[in-house]
C-alpha cells in the first residue's frame, strides 16, 4: 500500500511504516515559539528542569505578535524571552524581523522535517515538504524538554488544484474557496495535501498562502510535494543542501479527494465572523470599508506586495479608507523597497508597518473602532479578532485589498487588473 506525505514523513521519524489513525511518539526536528505563547513555554520549561531539553538546539524564538511592544506588560514578556534566548543560546528574531512563520521558512524549515510551533499557522512550512503543526504552549514546552511529541497520524484529504488562473484570482482565493467548501471544521485532525498543475505553477511564496490557511479547515497541517521551485527557494536561503524530493506514493490512501478548477474561480472573500462564510467579491461589492490591511504571514510576501503595488501604482487610497501594509519579514521589506513597491504604497497613502503580525490579532497597529469594517489579507476574521468585537472583518487577496483601498468600498479586483 502506498503512503501519503504525512505518513511518509512521520514514518521516517518513527523508523517504520505508519498508517493514518496510529498514535506515535516522534522526534521533533525544530520548535518555534513567539511572544504570544512563548512566555508560557519558558515558564513551563522551568518546571521541567529535570528533563534533558533535547529539543532546545533547534528552538527558535520570534518577537512578532506585539512588536515593537505597545505596553509595559508585553515589554516584560519580551525581556523574559530575550533572557531565555541569551541563557540557552537559542536563536531569537527580535522586533521588526518578521512573522515567525515567514522566518521559519526563510531560515529554518526543511523538507521531511517535523516541526512544532506554539502557533496554529505553523502548518505554513508544509509548502516546503515539512510536517509542521501548531500546538499549545505545554505541548511545545514538553517538545523542547523531551525532543519529541506524540501525534495521531492523520488521514489526508487530497486537494487537486488544476487550471489556469483567471485575471484577478490568486492563491488566496483558492484557499478561501476551499475553506468555504470544507467548512471551518471539515478537515479537523486531517492533513491536506495540495497537488495539481496550478500548485506546480505557483511560486513557493504563493503555496505558503495555501498551507498557511490549512488550519482554517481544522486541519493539522497542509503539505505540498517538493520540486525544483522548492530547491531554488532553499538555495536562495542558503539551505540548498537540505533539499530533497518528497511526494506521496501513487497508491496512497486518501480519505477524500477534492478537485478545484481554478479557471472557474472568481475573486473570493470570507465574510464576518467565520472564515468559512465565503462569497465571490462581486456579491458583496459596495460595502463601505474603513481599513485595508495587506500583508501578515498569510499574504505579506513579495509576490503579494507586487500584486498590490501594480494595482495601486499612480493611484491614491480613498480618503476615508486607511491602508496598512505589513510585510511578512525584513527580507520581504528590503526586496519590496528595492522593487519600488514601498514607494508606490507610500505615494498611494499607505502606512508601512514593521515586519511582523501587524494588526491581525488585535494587539496593536490598527485596532478597529466600533462598527468599522476592515478588508484584510490575513487568515482570520473571528469576532473580536482585530481588537474590537463590534468591528467587521472581510478576508481577501492582496488584489482585493488594493482595489478596495482605492474605491473605499469592497471592490472586485478584476476592475483593476
Amino acid at each position: 500500500m502506498g503512503h501519503t506525505m504525512a505518513e511518509k514523513i512521520i514514518g521516517e521519524h518513527v523508523g517504520r511504516e505508519v498508517n493514518a489513525g496510529e498514535l506515535v511518539v516522534v522526534e521533533v526536528d525544530a520548535c518555534l515559539i513567539h511572544d504570544g505563547t512563548g512566555p508560557a513555554v519558558v515558564r513551563e520549561l522551568e518546571q521541567l528542569q529535570e528533563l534533558p531539553r533535547r529539543g532546545l538546539e533547534r528552538t527558535t524564538v520570534c518577537l512578532d505578535h506585539a512588536a515593537p511592544s505597545p505596553r509595559q506588560e508585553l515589554s516584560n514578556e519580551h525581556t523574559l524571552l530575550r533572557n531565555f534566548a541569551r541563557e540557552t543560546e537559542v536563536r531569537i528574531f527580535d522586533v521588526g524581523e518578521g512573522v515567525c512563520h515567514q522566518l521559519n521558512v526563510e531560515w529554518m524549515a526543511n523538507p521531511g522535517e517535523i516541526i512544532i510551533g506554539s502557533d496554529s499557522h505553523t502548518c505554513m512550512a508544509g509548502a516546503l515538504g515539512a510536517f509542521a503543526t501548531g500546538m499549545g504552549s505545554t505541548d511545545v514546552a514538553v517538545g523542547i524538554a523531551l525532543g519529541k511529541t506524540w501525534l495521531r497520524v492523520p488521514e489526508t484529504f487530497l486537494i487537486k488544484v488544476e487550471g489556469e488562473f483567471p485575471k484577478g484570482v490568486y492563491a488566496k482565493d483558492v484557499a478561501l474557496h476551499l475553506i468555504g467548501l470544507l467548512g471551518a471544521d471539515g478537515a479537523t485532525y486531517k492533513a491536506l495535501e495540495f497537488v495539481g498543475s496550478s500548485v506546480s505553477q505557483m511560486s513557493v511564496g504563493e503555496r505558503f498562502t495555501l498551507t498557511n490557511m490549512a488550519v482554517e479547515t481544522g486541519a493539522k497541517t497542509g503539505l505540498c510535494a517538493t520540486d525544483e521551485r522548492v530547491r531554488h527557494y532553499l538555495e536562495q536561503h542558503g539551505r540548498g543542501e537540505r533539499f530533497r524530493f518528497i511526494a506521496a506514493d501513487a497508491a496512497a490512501n486518501y480519505e477524500q479527494v477534492i478537485e478545484i478548477d481554478v479557471s472557474q474561480l472568481a475573486p473570493t472573500v470570507s465574510k464576518p465572523h467565520v472564515v468559512d462564510s465565503t462569497a465571490p467579491v462581486e456579491e458583496v461589492e459596495g460595502v463601505r470599508v474603513d481599513q485595508v490591511v495587506i500583508g501578515t504571514c498569510t499574504n505579506g510576501r513579495l509576490e503579494d506586495l507586487a500584486v498590490a503595488a501594480r494595482i495601486l501604482r499612480g493611484k491614491r487610497r480613498h480618503p476615508d479608507t486607511r491602508l496598512l501594509i505589513a510585510p511578512a519579514s525584513m527580507e520581504v521589506l528590503v526586496q519590496a523597497y528595492q522593487s519600488g513597491y514601498i514607494q508606490t504604497f507610500i505615494e498611494a497613502g499607505g502606512v508601512i508597518l514593521p515586519p511582523g503580525c501587524g494588526p491581525c490579532m488585535g494587539v496593536h497597529q490598527g485596532i478597529l473602532g466600533d462598527g468599522e469594517v476592515c478588508v484584510s489579507t490575513q487568515n482570520r476574521n473571528f469576532k473580536g479578532r482585530m481588537g474590537n468585537p463590534k468591528a467587521l472583518i472581510y478576508l481577501g487577496s492582496p488584489a482585493t485589498g488594493a482595489a478596495t483601498a482605492i474605491t473605499g468600498r469592497l471592490t472586485d479586483p478584476r476592475h483593476f487588473v
Binding site: V14, G15, R16, E22, L23, V24, V25, V26, E27, G36, T37, P39, A40, E44, Q47, L48, E50, L51, H65, A66, R71, E73, L74, N76, E77, S118, D119, S120, G134, M135, G136, S137, T138, D139, A141, V142, A145, L146, K148, W150, R152, A184, D185, T188, Y189, G218, K220, V274, M361, G362, V363, R380, F382, K383, G384, R385, M386, G387, N388, P389
Partner: protein, 182 residues
C-alpha cells in the same frame, strides 16, 4: 463525579472569543485575563459563572489560535468540564494538557441552566433537570492518561517521558517513545 449548571454556547466559539486579543497583555496575569473569559460570546458568563459550572457548546469549540490561555482561563474560573459536539484540534489537546476535561457528546438536548452530572470514568452525562442520559465519546488512551495525571506537565514529571498506550491498551511499538507505565 462532576455536578454543575450548564452554560450554553453555539457553534464555532473561537479562542478569540474565549481569550480576546485586546487582553493580550494580561497573558502574564491569568487571574486578571480570566475575568474576561468568553465575554465576547456571552458577557453574562464572565460576570456570573460559578465554580463547578459546565460549558456546553455546539460544533468546533475552540477553533482558531493555539493560545493555551483560552483553556487555562476556563479552568481558572472553576469550570469543571467543557461538553461539545466537537472540538477544534489544538484546543482539545490544550485542554487535556492543562487538565481540563473535554467531553464530546450530543449537546443539543441540554439547555441553559440545566443541572448536569458527569461521570468521566463511566462515560456518562446525566441532565438532571431533564432526566435524560447522554453517552459520551471516550477519550483516546493517551489523553485519558494525561488527564488522570492532572495534565501533561505532571504526566512527564511523573513518567520522565510520554507514557503512550494505544487505544487497545497495548504499548506503541515505537522505540523512541513510551516508557513503562507505572
Amino acid at each position: 463525579m462532576l455536578r454543575g449548571r450548564a452554560w450554553k454556547f453555539g457553534h464555532n466559539v473561537s479562542t478569540d472569543q474565549i481569550a480576546p486579543g485586546r487582553y493580550f497583555h494580561l497573558r502574564s496575569d491569568l487571574p486578571e485575563l480570566a475575568k474576561h473569559v468568553l465575554e465576547d460570546a456571552n458577557p453574562e458568563f464572565a460576570r456570573n459563572v460559578q465554580p463547578e459550572d459546565l460549558i456546553v457548546a455546539g460544533r468546533n469549540f475552540g477553533l482558531g489560535s493555539s493560545r493555551e490561555h483560552a483553556a487555562s482561563i476556563i479552568k481558572l474560573r472553576g469550570i469543571s468540564a467543557v461538553l461539545a459536539q466537537s472540538f477544534a484540534r489544538i484546543f482539545f489537546r490544550n485542554a487535556i494538557n492543562i487538565g481540563l476535561p473535554v467531553i464530546i457528546c450530543d449537546t443539543d438536548r441540554i439547555a441553559q441552566g440545566d443541572v448536569l452530572e458527569v461521570d468521566l470514568l463511566k462515560g456518562r452525562v446525566r441532565d438532571v433537570t431533564r432526566n435524560i442520559e447522554l453517552d459520551l465519546e471516550p477519550l483516546p488512551g493517551v489523553m485519558l492518561a494525561i488527564l488522570q495525571d492532572g495534565g501533561l506537565i505532571n504526566h512527564v514529571q511523573k513518567h520522565g517521558d510520554f507514557s503512550l498506550y494505544s487505544d487497545r491498551g497495548k504499548p506503541s511499538s515505537d522505540q523512541a517513545g513510551p516508557s513503562e507505565s507505572s
